[in-house]
Amino acid sequence: MNAAIWITCKLALVTTLVLLVLGTPLAWWLAQGRSRFLRTLVEAAVALPLILPPTVLGFYLLLLLAPDGAIGQFSQSGLAFSFMGLVIGSVIYSLPFVVQPLAASFSQLDTRLLQLGRSQGLNPWQLLRHIVLPATCHAFVMAAALGFAHTVGEFGVVLMIGGNIPGETQVLSILLFDEVETLNFAQAHRIAGGLLAASFALLVVLYSWQKKRGHTRVAT
C-alpha cells in the first residue's frame, strides 16, 4: 500500500504543478483574450472532462499514447501504462478544476487596476508579480487544492491508460478496487477511510484558510 500512496501523491503533485504552469496562461487568455468565438470553443473543450465519462477520455488517450499513437510514437515503447502517461491523462482530466477558478478570478480583475499598473511603469512581468498574483492568490490556492484532490480521486482514466502495475501505475483508487474485488474488506476500509479523511481534512484546511484570510484583512 505504501507504494500506491507514494505514486498517488507523486502523481497528484506533478499533475498540479504542470496544471498551474500550463493552466495559468490558458486561464488568462480565456479571461482576457479578444477572440470571443475561439474562447468559447476552448472553454467548452476545457470543461469537457467535467461531463465526459472518464472511460471515454481514457479510451482516446489510450489510443493517443499507444506505441503507434499520435503522442506515443515519440517515445520508445509508447506512453500508455507508464507514469508519464498517467501524468498526461491526469492533466487533461483535472484541467477544468484548475483553469476554471483561475479564469473566473482573472476575469474579475479590475481592468482599471491593470491600466494603472501599466501607467505606473510596470512591465508585463512586474504587473503579474505586483498586481495579478496578489489579487488572485486565493484562486491559485483553490485551483491547486482542487487539482490535487481531483487527481488523487481519479479512477476511470487511470485504469484505462495506466493499467494496474504495482509500484509504477497502481494508485490508491485502483488498489481499493483490487482489494474489494478480492474481498479484502479490512484493507479496503483502511484505504477508503484514509482517502475520505484526507479529502475532508484538505477541504477543512482550505475553507478555514479562506475564512481566516478574510477575517485577518478586516481586523488588521
Binding site: 482599471r112 491600466q115 505606473q120 511603469g121 496578489p134 478586516v218
Partner: protein, 324 residues
Amino acid sequence: MWQLELDGQHWRWPQGQWLGISGPSGCGKTQLLTHMACGTKGLLQRGAQTNLLTLPSHKRGLGWAAQSAALWPNQRVHTMLNALAALHQANHWQRDAHELGITPLLQQYTDTLSGGERQRVALLAAVICAKNLLLLDEPVSALDANAAHHVLNAIRHIAAQRELSAILVSHQWQDLAATCHWVYHWQSNSFSTLADAHRAHVLNHPSNACALWPLDGPSLNGQVLVNGQPLDCGPLAPNTLRVRIDAHEVSIAHQQPGPSSIANTLSVTVTGLSHISDTSLIATLDWHGYQLYALITPKAATTLGLAKGLCVYAQFKAHAVNSA
C-alpha cells in the same frame, strides 16, 4: 509649454503650471485622463519633446491618481510604495509620505484603508511615478474640506519642488481655485484663466464668494504684498501662491474708520450688488482692478446707501487672509 490635442479639443498650458478641468458628471473628464494614461490617439507633448501618447503606457512618466484610488491589492502600503520607488529611483518618498500624513499607514494592508486614506496613498504613488506630468482625477473627493486643502497644498508643494505640471479634474470649485493656474470648463467648452473662471463661479454661486488674489511675493513678518500693496495676514504656508478672503469676513464702512483691531482697510468702489436671500446680499467691490466680495445684510446696504460706483472702505482682519 504643454499641449494636449484630442478629439478636436486643444489645450496649452505652461510647464510647471496646473490645468484644472471642471464639468458635470459624465462629460468625459475621467475618460480624458484615462486616455492620456493608456490611449494612443492624439497628442500630449511638452515643448518639442516626443508625443507621450506614441509611447507605451509604462514609459510615459505619468503620475496618475485615478478616481477609484486603486492600489495594489493584498499587500502592505510600504511594500507597494517601496517597489514603485525602486522602479522610479525615488529615494525620498518617505519625506513626501510624511507631508501627506501617510507615515502611520505604511504598515497597513491596502485593502484595509478608508476612502480618504486610499486617496492619499494613491496620490503619493502618483507623485513617485511622475516624471513628466501628474494626472489627478478627483484626488481628494473622499476627504473633508480641511484635509483636502492640506493634501492639495502638500501636493502642490511637492510638484513645485520637482517642477511638475499637473492636470486636476474636480467637481469642487475650491480645489480648482486652490491649486490651478488655468481652469477649463467642459460644459461651455471654454478655456479661461483662474480669475475669469472664478468670476463666473461667483456669479453662479454668490454664497461661496471669496476673493482670490495672487501674491507679489512670499509673506514676510505677518504681511503679504498684493497688487503692490501690503496686507496684514495670519500664518500662511511658505508655498502660498494666492490668498483667499471669504465674503463673510469683509465688512464695509462709509467713511474711513479709525484705528481698530481690524488690520486691513482698503479704499474700494462698489461695482455690483446681488441679493442672495432676504437676509443676505453680496456686494462686489473693485480694488485697483482686483475683485473683493462682501456678504452683508440688505438692511446694512440700505443704511450705507450702497449703489454702483460708490466709493467705500472695505475692512477685514489679518486672520481673514488665508492661503488658497
